[in-house]
Symmetry: C2
Subunit: 392 residues, 2 copies
């Protein structure tokens, strides 16, 4: 049997239609879109078409899309580029304590440059209370960045309400929508955000293409200085094959979103319920306000790495606590912020479904998982104190 | 007849072997190299193999290679990351006046942050005199960045001598080797550089993969903060298909360099001599110390855009003055720095050969070019004053 891939938050496979759309640009159509000859002009047109398709996915205009190489670039660009352009107004930034490291570490970098950063706490479900964001605002706050959905625990944030708070105070609001965009509706007007990060490889497009949406008229300093591509906002030769793939993947995500969600939810609910029915297995994140394909669980009396590797041996690919870069993870900052006890946090695995997963695969996982957990618990029976269990 | 592509400095086609090497990573092998399951571990290995191959091309160690998304990113990273890490020592930077905009505009950005920047002039051939670099050094100089070869005019710089000057003063030396690396020998030990930029799409590898070499032990601040990929120096999900392609292209470039150069030189010399034998067509850059496939010419009494478009209509793709981003180019800063009179500079086109070009194509170009020039000159007879002509 083929490996059962339940790590879609780390990367998604390319859809065949996306691969086909990219193919010409990996073969004959290799001209630089900035070149003035016919090959270049043709590719400039392909670039703009991909931009329009990407914009459509989030209800934006093409001119509001800046292509970047990855979500980390877009998040760094948003934090550093927006902060720098508005530093005369103030040097205070608000983020949540469960942002991706590309936001949190960018914030830390800005702190070293003299900015103040407030990290808004979350509740036990990983939810950011908009009221807490309001309380964090200072007279010199220039930027708020709160993610749309958390990739580690799946919880969805109340972005519209936070955007409302930001708007009332005339503060720029950026949301990292890497984990949500392409999976759930992410319309920039409905959300009310000034800037938003999305990446193609979260919705069956390629790695190497991501985008930062910046609302028309928003001042921003470039992050890459250079030849003036992307209207001077992001210089550098465009990764056209990947960008075209992103456009195609965005188009498909938009047109198939409802059916994908329905089918993901069905599989997800069965998987989630099956997993947490195992003794001392606890769900992380909000039980309902969560990404449709997302399950994060903490397994008592087990360490996540042996659990991940044992499942891997049985043909099941899952992620450990921090799905984006497992190497960097010691103890997940997200689980810490949610108050998950360290002993439980250490037994966390993340299972994220994709549109290619099937019912039979869920059956296999639900058959194998309890056996693996039992085996590991026999090897490593760390007692979890009563007070820890009662927290969950 | 197919379009004759003479714009290899803007982008090169993928070699079939490179495309084949990339293919698995655009199909089944899509796991994130940071994932701990078997797919991720396998891809982490592929990433490290590509790193070793890329390092071999420049005589470096794998651990000294930081993958980036493009040359512009690597150049911005070098300028900003090296400057920031050494700002306690000083805030003065030396560049040449003919650097790529990703260096010059990054330098301008640093100037706005309080750095001083000295732009060393070039001679009429676009050559940077190492003695001029020596004279530019101040007690607080922390970084020198001079390109290996200029992509617009093809001139090769005396990097070894400049590196020697830098070393004598204990100053970090970075070279932008985007236009040279993969085409001519670019060994970091022989050149004596502390940092070097290279991109895959200049040697028949894909767009989306480039690298910054940084000598082991060199302090540098990250440019992308985040999940800690590339040993924390460049966070962000790795563009594995492109990186694997870069590794393969680097391997091929290294093993075929001599034969490629021999064949490029033969074609280039015939093309160059044929073009400048046309009345009032002048070569830009150094006549011999230049990239093997590179011809830049200024055509009197003609504007480069109509010339480029006319050649394009005849099936020949060339670049206008600034090959990297024609949109950004008004009057090339490189030609200005070399003292090429504005009237001549405005009639500049760049023809860059690749390993796929054939003798017959050169014959076609040398047949068509004089006719196109004659036709355009009849339409637009701008007199060039005597003193302008004598400069050339």
């Amino acid at each position: 049997m083929e490996q059962i891939y339940l790590d879609h938050t780390s990367n998604t496979p390319l859809l065949p239609e996306v691969r086909e759309a990219m193919a010409p640009y990996l073969h004959g159509e290799f001209a630089n879109p900035s070149s003035l000859h016919r090959g270049g002009r043709k590719n400039a047109k392909a670039l703009e078409e991909a931009r329009e398709k990407t914009a459509s996915l989030i209800g934006a205009r093409g001119e509001e899309i800046i292509f970047t190489s990855c979500g980390t670039e877009a998040n760094n660009f948003a934090m550093k580029g927006l902060a720098a352009a508005h530093e005369k107004k103030g040097r205070h930034i608000v983020v949540s304590s469960i942002e991706h490291f590309s936001i949190l570490h960018a914030a830390r970098r800005l702190e070293r440059q003299g900015y103040r950063v407030t990290r808004v706490p979350v509740d036990q479900a990983g939810w950011v209370d908009p009221q807490k964001v309001r309380e964090a605002i200072a007279p010199d706050t220039v930027l708020i960045s709160i993610m749309h959905a958390n990739g580690e625990v799946g919880t969805l944030q109340s972005i519209r309400e936070i955007a409302q708070v930001a708007q009332e105070h005339g503060i720029l609001f950026h949301t990292d929508a890497v984990s949500s965009c392409g999976t759930i509706p992410t319309n920039v007007s409905e959300l009310g955000v000034a800037a938003l990060t999305l990446t193609a490889n979260q919705f069956y497009g390629p790695v190497g293409a991501a985008a930062l949406y910046v609302r028309k008229g928003t001042k921003m300093l470039p992050f890459f200085d250079g030849g003036g591509q992307e209207e001077g906002r992001r210089s550098g030769t465009e990764n056209l094959p990947a960008i075209v793939g992103m456009g195609k993947a965005a188009e498909l995500a938009l047109s198939h979103m409802e059916e994908r969600t329905t089918s993901l939810l069905k599989l997800r609910n069965r998987l989630m319920e099956g997993l947490i029915s195992v003794e001392e297995v606890y769900l992380n994140g909000h039980p309902t306000q969560r990404l449709p394909g997302h399950v994060s669980i903490s397994v008592a009396h087990v360490e996540s790495e042996p659990l991940l590797l044992s499942l891997d041996m049985e043909g099941i690919s899952v992620a450990s606590g921090s799905a984006c870069n497992s190497k960097a993870m010691k103890s997940s900052h997200v689980l810490q912020a949610m108050g998950v006890p360290e002993l439980l946090a250490r037994g966390t695995v993340v299972l994220t479904l994709g549109i290619g997963n099937r019912e039979e695969e869920i059956s296999v996982v639900l058959d194998i998982f309890p056996k693996v957990v039992e085996r590991l618990r026999k090897l490593n029976r760390t007692p979890i104190p009563q007070e820890v269990r009662s927290v969950r």
